[in-house]
Point group: C2
Chain length 456, copies 2
């Protein structure tokens, strides 16, 4: 399915300096990507590969920046809307020649960012609905946020009123509403006729054409509640969108140290690094290097520095994934690399602790060696147990569900690295090794019982 | 779907001592399970839970041994065929009262063992075929081995000739044939009428009733080539079946040491252990204990004994899986336990090598420690890499395909343990650690490139 992306307007409310010609809004940077890039990449993740971008105001700059889309593996065509001052309806008509052979198409706004799952589920919903009718030429769909109270800048938003699976009113000024238009449409080819009629009779905005559709009962809502989207209209929206995008990077299964200590810091680092070209894999290597350096510092007798580097590595270990999700750079290889490097990073720190304790004149070198050895044996088992469980059962091993009381202990990587940090700060290397050995082996044995209970 | 299991005959060709009353054939032991148990458990694996066992000759003994089937989670009912001397047709009729509410049922022979996948795919095939017809009451199916040349004792077998998806001739004496009846049927309820007619007109054997079905074109073959089954008719069949069952235990992805050295020994051990009650999990613990003991012996200065125990542990490490597959005792927890214990076993041996080398007065203790440390770090990565790959891609990591030239090196567990054995035999502990450290880390790094190429 092709998607039309409307990028023709001036974005006058975004004007940075009074009187000065505004920079094209779709090209404004937002956490390392241009706003319109976020629209393309979210749509790509939902399976859309071909786009028609309608340009108008300073369209050449947009065209020059985006090119033919091949740098993202996409196909981008351009339609010029010479009447861009007169409204969205003209933009839709400008795209018409590129959609001659399409029965349906998507309409997206260059300044409305959204999370990929919103579009993905919208497409599933519309596919199902279309199967129910004989002709879908004049059946149109709009994604509707069913939580208007959460929408920022509600006054400026286009509200909708839905009843029994139909949109029965739509507009900025309507008083009764239960949803908000989030600028994502799925149109049948009949929409062009309606827009042409509306241009003759009333006006050039898409909203006016949609009034005609609403009257026929053919505008259907896809009502959703928990997806993130944002209409970037004014300068303050950019700041709000930044905040929301960052919040949405947090995975659900973070350990306690990670959630309450590491993430606030890693998100700040991510928001800065997003603007640079560092890839997630480079960041994974950097986190590993910090572990390696931390291990060396422990061995050389600088436990404070070693411990702090371990904690920094733990924080940076979150950044690679955050950057990957934020900039649509997730890859299977990245996930694989991260898991292998983490194991080497752990080993470097445990080795450093052991060497530091031995070279620092531990009273019982063989005790230190045995503890280091046991910690090194069991620390990869934490991950290995989860991977094996997932392969055997097809289900994710969720420590919060399955680990019982042990979930409150620092068993997982964020907890282990925090323990190493404390060991360095208080210069208690042998005790740290002892604790690591106990905790990691306890976890491995405990999980044998958990898995036995769950798999029988 | 219910399955009728015919266990009524005398099995006179199995007579052990001339003139003496033969022991009921279904109850003869075959690698730790009675023959009829193998029929039940293979059928259970293909999804069959309810059975009607037709008994005749010494039926009480069979009934007493099997009970109501609850010890296997099955439901077993019994039908007595008083005419058991007169043929299989009577056995089928004896089961009829238990099948009143069934449209279809399976017929299995208590002396025909088969691998679960044969029945599983037979059921898929017949389900698909039945969907194509309006009434399936008089449509019957027979599993046919399409490689008659591989069937032992072909002379005694019931041959079939199939053409265009139908069986057009069937019998022991037919000259033209392209398949062999393997004693697995899927009957529509109409078969009873046919058997009754045949009893009146010709004789009591099922074969005679089937002739009538063949004439109508309603006996359809499920032709297969590579599934294992065996009709256990004479004493020599028991021995042949043992051999074939053991051969079928070998997994396809064995390493070189495992395939050419360990397996012949482990299969011999398995064939003995199968008759005892040792469970696969007990055997996994035993293999782990051997590693632990081997590690201790290395540390105490008995490298030869340590090395030999490591190799023995490697051999026994195959036995748990073999017993599990042979006796239908496979479990997800068993697979999980095995993988965790293997990691601890590896660690015990690497620790033992390191301690043995240090206590034996190695010229450079820190070199020994670093090598032991590196070997311990990377040896779990071999498994971890495969598990992570499988979770990310949904595909199994097959070292024979993906590891390139490295597949010839002793990277996997069988190879690593063989290396440790050699290290012990030649008393070269430090060199063994060095080699282990090099090989395991080389493999981990090499696989990063492999995965990158495959996942992009």
């Amino acid at each position: 399915m092709k998607a039309v992306v409307v990028a023709a307007g001036e974005g006058s409310r975004m004007r940075m300096t009074a009187g000065k010609e505004p920079f094209p809004k779709p090209l404004l940077p937002l956490l390392g990507l241009r706003i319109i890039e976020r629209v393309f990449l979210a749509a790509r993740k939902a399976g859309i590969k071909e786009f028609v971008v309608v340009i108008g105001y300073r369209g050449d700059e947009i065209r020059r920046y985006l090119g033919d889309g091949s740098k993202w593996g996409l196909k981008i065509q351009y339609a010029f809307n010479e009447h861009w001052l007169n409204g969205n309806g003209y933009s839709l008509l400008a795209a018409k020649p590129y959609l001659e052979s399409e029965n349906r198409f998507l309409l997206l706004m260059a300044d409305h960012i959204f999370e990929p799952n919103l579009l993905k589920h919208f497409l599933q919903f519309t596919d199902d609905e279309i199967k129910k009718v004989q002709s879908d030429k004049n059946l149109h769909f709009l994604a509707v946020d069913a939580c208007p109270e959460k929408v920022t800048d509600l006054e400026e938003a286009t509200k909708v009123y839905t009843r029994a699976g139909k949109i029965i009113a739509l507009g900025k000024e309507i008083k009764d509403f239960n949803g908000v238009d989030c600028g994502i449409f799925n149109f049948g080819a009949g929409i062009f006729e309606t827009v042409e009629k509306s241009l003759k009779d009333s006006g050039g905005s898409l909203s006016e054409a949609l009034q005609l559709v609403v009257k026929t009962g053919n505008l259907r809502p896809f009502e959703f509640k928990n997806y993130y989207w944002h209409d970037i209209d004014q300068k303050k929206d950019l700041q709000q969108a930044r905040q929301k995008l960052l919040q949405h990077l947090l995975p659900k299964k973070d350990g306690i140290v990670s959630r309450y200590f590491n993430r606030p810091i890693s998100l700040t680092i991510t928001s800065v690094l997003a603007n640079l070209s560092a890839t997630p894999n480079i960041i994974s290597f950097f986190s590993f290097s910090l572990c390696l350096l931390g291990g060396v510092l422990f061995a050389l007798g600088y436990p404070l520095a070693g411990g702090l580097l371990a904690q920094l590595a733990s924080i940076i270990d979150g950044v690679d994934g955050e950057i990957a999700r934020l900039k649509f750079q997730e890859s299977l290889f990245g996930a694989y690399l991260d898991s292998i490097l983490d194991r080497y990073g752990d080993a470097a720190l445990i080795g450093g602790l052991t060497a530091g304790s031995l070279l620092g004149g531990a009273s019982s070198p063989s005790f230190v060696l045995i503890m280091g050895f046991l910690a090194l044996t069991a620390s990869p088992l934490s991950m290995l147990a989860k991977e094996k469980y997932a392969n055997l059962t097809g289900k994710t091993y969720n420590p919060l569900e399955l680990d019982g009381y042990l979930r409150y202990f620092p068993f997982n990587r964020d907890g282990r690295l925090a323990l190493i940090m404390l060991g360095g700060v208080f210069n208690q290397l042998t005790a740290t090794l002892l604790l690591l050995a106990l905790l990691t082996n306890l976890q491995a044995i405990y999980r044998l019982f958990v898995v036995r209970q769950n798999l029988g």
